[in-house]
Point group: C2
Chain length 471, copies 2
């Protein structure tokens, strides 16, 4: 027992230093898989190793891990966890419980229901229900399942009965929709991709045309998925206009707002989600814009019954649901059985941020994104590749004298590689159509204007070197 307490104190001390460390030397070490493998060779020893050696392993882990809370981490749609959320994780782990029943998770049940209600109120639905999921992919899967059940309730007992169900997604939607469509077994050929405009937004006219085509060939259009904050460009599909089409043909409308849901917090950005109250289900990840450590993800629905039906089972679950208070047993509206209390970190964060704290976070990041956008626009050899709507900035390096696309693409791939290997910044690359771009994202408040100035300076230095080498 005493050894455990010592281990606790030593590890907490180490992690505390890591959390509050400023200006780290490198946010990522440029070390290859094989070398790293050697460093962590003894992952599964036969006999226990000493606490001292455990500490040494944790030190090594901290050293080689990517410093996702540092300002230079601009790679992902998440980063910069705040302290109350990290402490929330420790609280979750140390009270380790499962969300399936009120019996086992009394307080977390109360808090989960309360936070879900608040999110539904923000969306503007008259009634609704929701659950915490294992991530945006899972939330999108739930959306498709509810849609299927709404359109064809027999599916859950009979299977698909030879029908061809079709789903309508934007060309720029997240790949998890395709994954979900594969899981539920409709087949990728029945995923209809809707064209986007030049900014990456789904075109409602094309959507309607495709739905009509589907109906005319006696297929069953059962779900439209729009995106609020696409992964690459961060653009928002026109929700209101898509809702018009869905209502006209009575098709379930699922919104993937994993990234952009947080825009609801600020009156500056709420307009991007105009019409959100007309959707049927929504996936919204607090672990993205809201600074929660992974995973903290919600699925919300305006028709509680559908969620209950897709989650319900014929099978005996008497060992779990005990008859008393089962109204509050959240396992009945979840695809999971054991489920951790992710809500607790969101709760502690909400207490320490307040609703207005999230608004400020969003507004601050938007301000920085505008700043970076301007740096790119004004730059002689950097080119903005898509209109900025949220905090994703899509750009590339375009040397004046080069016009061959492959060549330009390769230069940008090299640019990113050098950037990453320098270890000061992490920025994602992506493709927009066939064009290779860099895509920094402003997702957390440790980023500052000076961070973005330094990014541009570092890019300029790399470009200078790359240009010299090739001459």
């Amino acid at each position: 027992m005493k050894e455990d307490e010592e281990l606790f104190d030593d590890v907490v001390k180490l992690i505390r230093e890591h959390i509050f460390e400023q200006n780290v030397e490198k946010i990522r070490h440029n070390i290859e898989y094989d070398k790293l493998k050697k460093e962590f060779e003894f992952a599964t020893p036969s006999t226990p190793i000493s606490n001292d050696l455990i500490i040494k392993n944790i030190e090594k882990y901290l050293n080689y891990s990517v410093k996702t809370n540092q300002p230079g981490f601009l790679q992902s749609l998440w980063g910069g966890s705040h302290i109350s959320a990290i402490l929330g994780e420790l609280l979750i782990a140390s009270t380790n419980t499962s969300m399936y029943t009120f019996d086992t998770a009394p307080v977390a049940t109360v808090i989960e229901k309360s936070i879900i209600s608040k999110m539904i109120e923000m969306i503007g639905w008259e009634e609704g229900e929701g659950t915490f999921t294992s991530g945006g992919s899972n939330g999108n899967l739930l959306g498709l399942m509810c849609a299927r059940n709404y359109t064809f309730p027999e599916y859950s007992t009979k299977g698909n009965m030879g029908k061809q169900f079709q789903i309508f997604i934007s060309k720029e939607s997240h790949y998890s929709i395709e994954t979900a469509a594969k899981i539920i077994g409709i087949g990728t050929e029945n995923i209809i991709e809707i064209n986007c405009d030049k900014d990456g937004k789904m075109q409602p006219q094309h959507l309607e045309k495709q739905i009509l085509e589907s109906l005319n060939s006696s297929k069953i259009p059962f779900c439209v998925v729009a995106t609020a904050g696409t992964t690459v460009r961060g653009c928002f599909d026109p929700i209101d206009e898509i809702a018009d089409v869905c209502e006209k043909y009575d098709i379930w409308f699922h919104l993937d707002a994993a990234w952009g849901g947080a825009a609801l917090f600020s009156k500056e950005t709420r307009g991007l989600l105009q019409g959100i109250n007309r959707t049927n289900s929504i996936c919204w990840d607090p672990h993205k814009f809201m600074g929660l450590p992974l995973i903290c993800s919600t699925f919300l629905i305006n028709n509680p019954e559908q969620l209950e039906v897709v989650s319900s089972c014929v099978k005996n679950r008497s060992y779990l649901f005990h008859g008393e208070d089962t109204n509050f047993d959240l396992g009945k509206i979840s695809l999971a059985c054991g489920r951790r209390a992710d809500v607790i970190k969101l709760w502690l964060s909400w207490l320490s941020m307040g609703t207005e704290g999230w608004a400020k976070r969003v507004e601050y990041c938007i301000e920085l994104a505008k700043y970076l956008e301007n740096l790119i626009i004004q730059h002689p050899f950097l080119e903005l590749m898509s209109s900025r709507e949220f905090t994703n900035i899509c750009f590339r390096w375009k040397p004046e004298e080069i016009n061959d696309l492959t060549e330009i693409n390769n230069l940008n791939i090299n640019l990113r590689q050098k950037l990453i290997s320098n270890g000061n910044f992490m920025v994602s690359s992506a493709q927009l159509n066939d064009i290779q771009i860099l895509r920094p994202v402003i997702a957390h408040p440790t980023i500052e204007k000076t961070t973005l100035d330094s990014l541009i300076i570092e890019i300029e230095n790399i470009i200078e070197k790359l240009t010299k080498t090739s001459n």
Copy 2:
């Protein structure tokens, strides 16, 4: 920043006390939903609350939470997290990363691959692959998806094409298999339940009979699911005999070893899993028997290709997978996109337990289960209701003078309610056929023989009171 550091120190202190507290007053407060709701009324304040108030909220949370690490917690197939695992969670949160790419999670990728390899070696497959999932339900879903793809590869592109796929599960399997079957859209009517013997084990003869019936009616039997450690009885299906049937008809064999996988650690219990190397896929949850905080769950497969195919997408994922080192990008073999580094807590636990530490944990719990089994068998008015095979003990109170089943069932429901409301023990109730039972489970090492003695004494006291009241 200083405020953050103070919050960190204060919260860690509080949680430290909670973790190392012995002999808590009550493992669960008997408080109703509405009252608890009032206690946690302000979950989503508009403006930040002070650190002092956050601390007060955490104190309240700790007070009302179920003390799942205390010996009296005998309710679930998990409990008693060890300290290195809890610290692992803190490490995961403070280095917050996503497992999708080697780029973003270099060390965790190396460690995940290493631990998956070790588990495959323990199973005895010649080759294999695996991933950490969001829980046993998700692992079972993956098993069904791989089975479907193996039997009918066109499914992923064409959908089910009007075919009737059938899945074979034991009557006592976990409800997540039914959920998974519903998700993938085969319809609950195509779930064929196989009879069990008197101890709850699937009968291979009945399985073969049902498969033949399915084939004769031109349906497609595509997956058999066996259970290693059923939820209620903790019994193990005869894996070797089921493998014979699966091989004979070339049907995918998925094993739900979420609970019983840990039996592989000890030579005393390994025999329960005889034939495990002949399965095609396995779900095994270290968050159950191995003392990891929820969620730490694995899906393992002997045919890596199937896992890759079900997880792969046509859609552009260029923003994620960057071309270099993509062999090590674990997002390619997962249904999730963002995924937390659950493996890290397993790694730290493995370092501190050693493989032999897990063996000891299993053996210790088995010894205690035998002890409790004997207490029940020798008891004048308690009745063992199923042979004990693992650490689940199924029993009921059977008053000599009462023979009406409904009456006996109600007595046992009352018994459990009183037991829970006393706050010293949590024990699950369940139904075996129509019989109401109590089902304590030995899943963690803070339980001792004296804990079990006290449980029996407390039950005797409750029974005495219940008997007096009814007389």
